[in-house]
Symmetry: C2
Subunit: 110 residues, 2 copies
Amino acid sequence: MLTKELVAASTEPLVLSILSGGENYGYALIQEVKRLSGDKIEWIDGMLYPVLHRMEREGRIVSRWAEAENGRKRKYYALKKDGKKALQDQRKQWGAVSEIFKQLWKEQYV
Amino acid sequence: MLTKELVAASTEPLVLSILSGGENYGYALIQEVKRLSGDKIEWIDGMLYPVLHRMEREGRIVSRWAEAENGRKRKYYALKKDGKKALQDQRKQWGAVSEIFKQLWKEQYV
DNA sequence: CACAATACATGGCAATGCCATGTATGTCAA
DNA sequence: TTGACATACATGGCATTGCCATGTATTGTG
């Protein structure tokens, strides 16, 4: 169980990172994050959709409706230019903070 | 400039980590984080003190007033048992999330 | 037919982060 | 001696917002 602060800080980078591998839809993102995290992160849909809406409103991603094979409608999201930029920024930021922890934690037991 | 979410997620782990190296006082923590981060993180005192109060209220750290050489009063904080436990938890959590990003980011340009 | 899983949307407000502000003392240059 | 700046801590309060609860609809399945 992750702290809510860590969940909040990782959500957008995770979405951007996954979408950098190709467009995807909300429900699938939830499952993908659960899989990638080994069930450590279990987003609920009511939490993710507002995030996606906000990211689209801010111009990082763009959506299109599409029909799945089974006839069901899905809303696919794809990275926009600003989203790629944001991903790069956020990777640098995570890297920077990780470096600090690496320094602080070296030669200490977990 | 870090996102506010990342700052929020890293503040408590940073405080716990620094205090695990020995007791320290608020103002010094601000400078230490600035130094460690290469000026990337610049906490303001009005942001840190409430965090320290909350952490003490939650039993992770304990404070004592002490007089510095120059006669000035300082409030020194030290880790409590629960704080050590929290630090271990949070290290694991950071590690877990970092692993996810490592996976997602491998073989991609920054 | 009932239940679970899939799939998306959003109103609304409880919770809270932290900014702005206040207090006090030490240092140092002019 | 005085003004400016750095040091050092405290907290009221409220604007912001995260995200929960809830609603809708379709498909799969036993």
